[in-house]
């Protein structure tokens, strides 16, 4: 779990992405996508897969991917978070793909992963059933039957980009314990309803299943560990997005206070503003350090990965929300207009804070690790 400095490849990738998004995803495009009908797919999606191979970056080559590492993929999420890329990339690449990779079902992997890598397939994960906490443990949906063919009934909230997905990976109770089921979004008995959300760059849906034909991955085994592993990797990917977003929020604010004048001086010359931004810099760099630690832990033991992911997710959530809030505040009146992008970052920050578990939720996991086990930490 030593610290990993960025590789040369990662530095290059970052620079490529910054140029790419500057051209392909300017603010106007982002706003257009956010306000568009959510069933349309953006050109960016296709280009990211075709021109850069981002979807399959961390998918093994034999399954149609680029065979890069998970830390490499984190560079992509950080840069996407910086410019608020919308669409089902997170659901497909940070959740569905890792879940498929964690479940050793080669047949289904060959069925779905090449399509994910090529950008032809949109897959999301339907997991949470509680209304007020993002809880991967409280599962009431049930899939009956045995072998690969099951019948699924249940109800899911907060399914990321559920309205865009063609395939759903659904977590449900099965005879074996917890199972992951592949469901066709068009299958009879599936009802997908968009949820109104504050963050138009990340859509969510409620999905209900009424005796739906589905295929269980890795029949005969409980998938609980795979689901937990996926949640940890997705938490780290989300932390990367949050670091990117927080950094952009800080940068845009520093830029603004250097130009904006009040009382005959730039507002960035007031000590209160300077110290506010210094504290924010400390926060952003602390989030980056927690992310680097989690990235280095992505190949560590399950227990270490779980804790490193919770450390990063808890801190990066709080830092991003604070950074986005400060951005609005230090911009003054202009910061809370619809036209200024500050609120888009604020909306993304808060929606990310409660996604994949709140900071309190992650700290409860850490406390349990420190205090409830036999060995000392």
């Amino acid at each position: 779990m030593a610290f990993l400095a960025p590789t040369e490849e990662q530095v290059d990738l970052r620079s490529t992405l910054q140029t790419y998004f500057a051209q392909r995803w300017p603010e106007a495009e982002m706003r257009r996508a956010a306000e568009a009908d959510e069933r349309t797919q953006s050109e960016l999606w296709t280009s990211m897969a075709r021109d850069l191979g981002l979807h399959g970056l961390a998918i093994p080559e034999e399954l149609g991917g680029g065979g890069f590492t998970f830390p490499d993929l984190l560079v992509v999420f950080e840069e996407m978070g910086r410019v608020l890329v919308s669409g089902p990339f997170f659901a497909t690449v940070a959740m569905a793909a890792p879940l498929l990779l964690a479940l050793d079902d080669r047949e289904v992997q060959e069925l779905l992963l090449p399509g994910i890598a090529s950008g032809e397939r949109v897959v999301t994960v339907a997991l949470v059933e509680s209304e007020m906490s993002w809880d991967a443990d409280l599962i009431r949906a049930v899939a009956t039957g045995s072998g690969a063919e099951r019948k699924l009934t249940g109800h899911k909230f907060f399914v990321l980009d559920g309205c865009l997905a063609d395939t759903l990976l659904v977590v449900a109770k099965v005879d074996e314990g917890i199972g992951v089921l592949v469901v066709d979004a068009d299958a009879p008995g599936v009802t997908i309803t968009a949820m109104e959300t504050i963050d138009a760059t990340r859509r969510q849906a409620r999905v209900s299943f009424d005796d739906v034909a589905s295929r269980m991955l890795r029949p005969g085994h409980s998938a609980a560990d795979a689901v937990a592993h996926m949640c940890q990797l997705a938490s780290i990917a989300l932390a990367a997005e949050q670091v990117g977003g927080a950094q952009r929020a800080l940068d845009m604010t520093v830029e603004y206070v250097k130009l904006r004048e009040q009382f005959g001086r730039t507002i960035g010359s007031f000590q209160a503003v300077k110290h506010h931004l210094a504290d924010l810099l400390v926060a952003v760099e602390s989030a980056r350090a927690a992310l680097a630690h989690a990235a280095a832990s992505s190949t560590a033991s399950p227990a270490d990965l779980a804790i490193a992911a919770s450390v990063a997710q808890s801190l990066c959530s709080e830092v991003y929300s604070a950074a986005a809030d400060s951005t609005i505040h230090l911009h003054g009146g202009i910061g809370f207009t619809w036209e200024h992008p500050a609120h888009l970052y604020y909306r993304r920050a808060v929606s990310s804070e409660v996604l994949l578990g709140s900071p309190h939720h992650h700290r409860a996991k850490i406390a349990s690790h420190l205090l409830d086990e036999k060995e000392s930490s």
């Binding site: 007020m132 009382f263 007031f270 808060v350």
Partner: protein, 405 residues
């Protein structure tokens, strides 16, 4: 029955005849879920809302209950603080229309007219602001001068019988619904007297050359406006106070704005906490110990918010004088904590609508809260006021409203 009891009975009767009671205690699921705190309500039809408010205000005026502490000769009731308190206590128990749309006229424009207006202006404007006939707005801020009014560039040029005004104002709450605007403009260019070159006007918003453009906020609503003034004629009779005295007139309005934040702020806070407690009890989040600690903390801040105005009134003179700034700072901090508590408790349901009562409605509070720390003087300006006026520490370079003294 003493005088105050008689007054209370009269108020009670007024409301009982007209409006249904609110539940004594809030109930889970009661009322329009969009209304989590009046300040964050999304109006379905703001014109209809305004008409309801004006009608209600008219009834209040007819009953002698509109302008409780105003002078009798101007349509006020000539009463005191005790009666205002009694009135507020009773009013909050009834489901009467929201009067927010009339507040700027009554709490910002009216005080300035009362202090600086001519007899004619006082008689023309004040009774009308308080009986619902006239709706007011404030035209101070400009794109290049947010907190720093001394940097205003809207110019009034002397012409025969009045002035011609050109410039742009911003952050004008309710300007798209208002009949009159309290307009601050530059009437002298002498750079050595930046603040003394300002004059206040009572602008007829229907004047040719006035264009109002709604400014969409991050909440998605457009309560504020940009107001463009293109060679607008204002007759001499609409100058408020003396020419060049605009700074002093503005300060009456700004200080009333600060003073009145405490009232509505605390009211807002109370109702929000009650609603959150309801949701917590309903869904059993009461078993979450972290949330319990934060709910208790919010309650503590509610108690303080309730008692702070009276407690500050007994503080040392400089602290009491800066009380409005202190109350605003305390309230914006308490509000921020409360919203974070709501996020912690409601989790993803504050971000995406599950359909459950009293959950996603909080997203409007979440999105509206950042504005409260900027509008009416940012937290930083309030801290400067406290440090300098209440504690006597050295001054920063000064914004206009701080230079009254």
């Amino acid at each position: 029955m003493n005088e105050i009891e008689a007054f209370a009975a009269r108020v009670e009767a007024f409301f009982k005849d007209r409006f249904p009671p609110r539940p004594q205690t809030l109930e889970h699921g009661w009322g329009d879920d969009s209304m989590v705190g009046a300040a964050f309500r999304v109006a379905a039809d703001e014109h209809a809302d305004l008409e309801r408010a004006r009608h209600y205000q008219h009834e209040l005026a007819d009953a002698g209950l509109a302008w409780l502490d105003g002078p009798v000769e101007l349509g006020g009731a000539g009463l005191g603080v005790a009666e205002r308190r009694v009135f507020a206590e009773i009013a909050r128990r009834y489901d009467a229309p929201d009067l927010n749309s009339l507040l700027v006229g009554q709490q910002i424009l009216a005080p300035a007219v009362l202090v600086y207006g001519s007899t004619e202006q006082r008689e023309r404007v004040l009774p009308a602001l308080w009986n619902g006939d006239l709706v007011g707005c404030q035209l101070f801020s400009e794109p290049g001068a947010g907190s720093d009014l001394a940097a205003l560039t809207t110019r009034a040029r002397r012409v025969d019988g009045g002035w011609r005004v050109t410039g742009q104002k911003v952050w004008s709450s309710g300007a798209h619904l208002a009949h009159v605007g309290e307009l601050l403009a530059r009437t002298s260019e002498d750079p050595g007297t930046r603040s003394r070159g300002l004059t206040m006007f009572v602008l007829d918003m229907a004047s040719p050359g006035v264009t109002v453009r709604p400014l969409r906020q991050m909440t998605g609503t457009a309560h504020f406006n940009e107001v463009f003034l293109d060679d607008v004629f204002i007759p001499d009779g609409d100058v408020l106070g003396a020419v060049g005295e605009g700074w002093a007139v503005a300060n009456v309005s700004l200080s009333s704005e600060r003073d009145n934040f405490g009232d509505s702020g605390s009211d807002l806070f109370l109702r929000l906490l009650d609603r959150l407690v309801l949701v917590v009890r309903e869904v059993g989040a009461w078993s979450n110990p972290g949330a319990r600690d934060r709910i208790a903390d919010a309650y503590i801040r509610e108690v303080v918010t309730e008692n702070l105005p009276e407690s500050l009134a007994t503080a040392s003179a400089p602290v009491a004088a800066a009380g409005a700034s202190l109350i605003k700072l305390f309230a914006t901090d308490a509000d921020r904590r409360l919203v974070q508590t709501a996020v912690d408790i409601l989790g993803p349901s504050i971000v995406a609508d599950t359909g459950a009562w009293g959950t996603f409605a909080w997203s409007r509070v979440l999105l509206g809260m950042p504005a409260t720390r900027i509008a009416g003087g940012s937290d930083e300006i309030q801290r400067n006021i406290l440090a300098e006026r209440a504690l006597g520490l050295p001054r920063e370079v000064r914004p206009l409203q701080e230079d009254r003294s």
